[in-house]
């Protein structure tokens, strides 16, 4: 399978897991030493290193999941991710880099359906046993503004 297909397949499963599947499976799309950051276009352009979410290994992503399940308090809500086609920037046998635009709609438990975030994934994938694993994902939100809170991952 070519890089485009491997990445498309991984991303399709990734959004299914967050939107409709088991959130516990979300860290499994990442390599053990993966880097994951949610930031904004303004911070990204200015090269500012902090993130709204910042993790430099898979354990930290698992902690995100346990926190959202066991510790944090928020109103029930779900996301619907709409992804564009991945644009594969570089590829080799071992992996690829790509960029994919996203739109995330948030559906609150009590009704309203709103656009929550738009942006792009800046990704590095490693190919492992016919599967694309995320080595690095920087989620660059277009807006500098987050409505109320961000608890489910993007």
């Amino acid at each position: 399978m070519d890089a485009h297909n491997l990445i498309s397949r991984a991303q399709g499963r990734y959004v299914h897991t967050i939107d409709d599947g088991l959130i516990e499976d979300w860290p499994e799309f990442f390599a053990d030493d993966a880097f994951y950051k949610v930031t904004t276009a303004d911070n990204h352009r200015r090269g500012l290193p902090a993130g709204i979410i910042w993790a430099h290994n898979k354990a930290m992503l698992k902690d995100r999941v346990s926190a959202l399940k066991e510790a944090n308090i928020y109103e029930p809500h779900t996301y619907r991710h709409m992804l564009g086609q991945p644009s594969v920037l570089e590829e080799s046998e071992a992996g690829a880099t790509s960029e994919t635009s996203f739109l995330v709609i948030r559906i609150m438990g009590n009704g309203p359906t709103d656009v929550f975030a738009s942006g792009r994934y800046l990704d590095e994938y490693v190919f492992d046993d016919g599967r694309a694993l995320i080595k690095k994902r920087i989620v660059v939100c277009d807006s500098s503004r987050i409505d109320t809170l961000l608890v489910l991952p993007l």
Binding site: V38, T39, T40, D42, N43, L48, P49, A50, G51, I52, I53, W54, A55, H56, N57, A59, M60, K62, D63, S66, A67, E70, A71, N72, I73, Y74, E75, S144, R145, I146, D147, T148, L149, L150, V151
Partner: protein, 432 residues
């Protein structure tokens, strides 16, 4: 000039004056979070009044020509550094027809040109150019008596406190040191004194609630270990730790601090009370909460607020400033600026980046604060005649060794009701 009549004549003024506030500081009327006339009057009396409002960091205006476009309440203001090295601030509104002079949040420029008709301002806010001032071929143009110097945007009073830039729209504001008081100044110095902050990130959180609900939350040390499970489980902030509350003399500003007291953690305070904080919870990467002594003392948490809308936070090694800006009766923008310091080692910066997970819109110990104000805003719909009760720790607004107190909330309202000029007296107390 007309540009200077800042909100005098707010239509609802009479309505606000008819409102009365309970005499006891333990009662807060819910209409204060709901009423449009109160919101309008706050713009005039609080934000255009004799208050100091956080604008930005000196470090964000490092070079001459750097500017920051921000707000005091709803009032847009521009803060700049000129070539004389000084910081200036003025209303971000063209003297001509009122357009914003600058729109970018942070930027760098030689001067400012209003996009509408190209009126030009220097970095100190002086009107220096009017397009076609002389007309064309002797026709049109401004009248000969037009004086640019008389049409510069209004300048703000400015004060800098350990690298924090505060501004005021009222010339009669007290001197910043008098406004804050020594105890608050000392605690700002504790975190920022003699250090050069470096911005690690800036994020804005839109809150679905009145700005004062967020300020109450900031000043509320009682909720911290109850609503925020993450804090409690990892020994960041327990009511049994040593710590305390400092309320400034006037009541408006506060510091809540705590220091690790591992012996007390084995105590019975939590086991006795069936509160949610009791839950077990393990981190797979516990290095998240491995910090270093921020300034060489044992204090792991210091939340400091300056009335009306500024917060300086040290939660372990997560240092941030928060600017609270009202955008409507039931909407507020919370601007987070995460900080490191110029002399941080690489390892220290890594710790700060990890601990950025604790705060902000997705913060393990702060995300609930983004939602709780909305829960109150919705909860009190239909209760405009009712009152919140803030009796924890008594009815005074004074410093306390216990953090199980709402003293600093009472202090906030003490200063607020005075600034708003409400008649004090009636309240639930008189009906009870």
């Amino acid at each position: 000039m007309s540009a200077r009549s800042t909100g005098v004549g707010v239509p609802a003024r009479a309505g606000v004056q008819e409102r009365s506030w309970p005499e006891s500081l333990t009662e807060v009327p819910y209409w204060v979070f709901q009423a449009e006339d109160v919101y309008r009057a706050e713009q005039e009396r609080i934000f255009h009044g004799p208050t100091w409002n956080y604008l930005c960091l000196e470090a964000e205006l490092a070079e001459p020509g750097d500017f920051c476009a921000t707000f005091i309440g709803e009032q847009p203001v521009l803060v700049t550094r000129d070539h004389d090295g000084q910081i200036y601030a003025f209303e971000n509104r063209c003297a001509h027809r009122g357009s914003l002079i600058a729109m970018e949040h942070y930027g760098h420029t030689r001067d400012f040109t209003c996009v509408y008709h190209a009126w030009t301002y220097n970095l100190q806010g002086d009107l220096t150019g009017v397009a076609f001032e002389e007309g064309i071929n002797g026709k049109g143009g401004m009248p000969p008596e037009f004086c640019k110097a008389a049409h510069s945007p209004r300048r703000l009073r400015l004060a800098s406190v350990h690298g924090l830039v505060f501004g005021s729209l009222d010339n009669d504001v007290p001197h910043i040191e008098e406004y804050l008081g020594q105890e608050i100044l000392d605690r700002i110095e504790r975190v920022l004194g003699g250090r050069k902050p470096v911005v690690l990130g800036r994020f804005t959180q839109s809150l679905p609630n009145n700005w004062k609900l967020y300020m109450e939350n900031v000043k509320d040390s009682y909720h911290a270990s109850i609503l925020h499970l993450f804090f409690t489980t990892f020994g960041l902030n327990k009511l049994s730790q040593k710590g305390g509350i400092i309320v400034s003399e006037d009541g408006g500003h506060h510091v809540s601090w705590s220091a690790i007291d591992r012996e007390a953690e084995a105590g019975e305070h939590y086991k006795d009370q069936k509160i949610r904080s009791e839950s077990e919870y393990q981190l797979q990467d516990p290095s998240l909460v491995d910090g270093f002594s921020e300034v060489g003392d044992d204090i792991t948490l210091q939340i400091l607020s300056v009335s009306p809308g500024f917060v300086l936070q040290q939660i372990q090694n997560s240092v941030a400033v928060r600017q609270v800006l009202p955008t409507g009766v039931d909407s507020t923008d919370l601007h987070w600026t995460y900080l490191g310091f110029e002399d941080d080692t690489e390892e220290q910066q890594l710790i700060r980046l990890k601990q950025s997970n604790l705060v902000g819109p997705a913060g393990y110990v702060s995300m609930e604060d983004g939602a709780i104000g909305g829960f109150v805003q919705r909860g009190i719909a239909g209760a405009g005649q009712e009152f919140a009760t803030v009796q924890m720790g008594g009815d005074q607004a004074v410093s306390s060794e216990s953090r199980v107190t709402e003293a600093s909330i009472r202090g906030f309202w003490k200063v607020y009701r005075e600034a708003m000029g409400f008649a004090v007296g009636a309240g639930r107390g008189v009906h009870a």
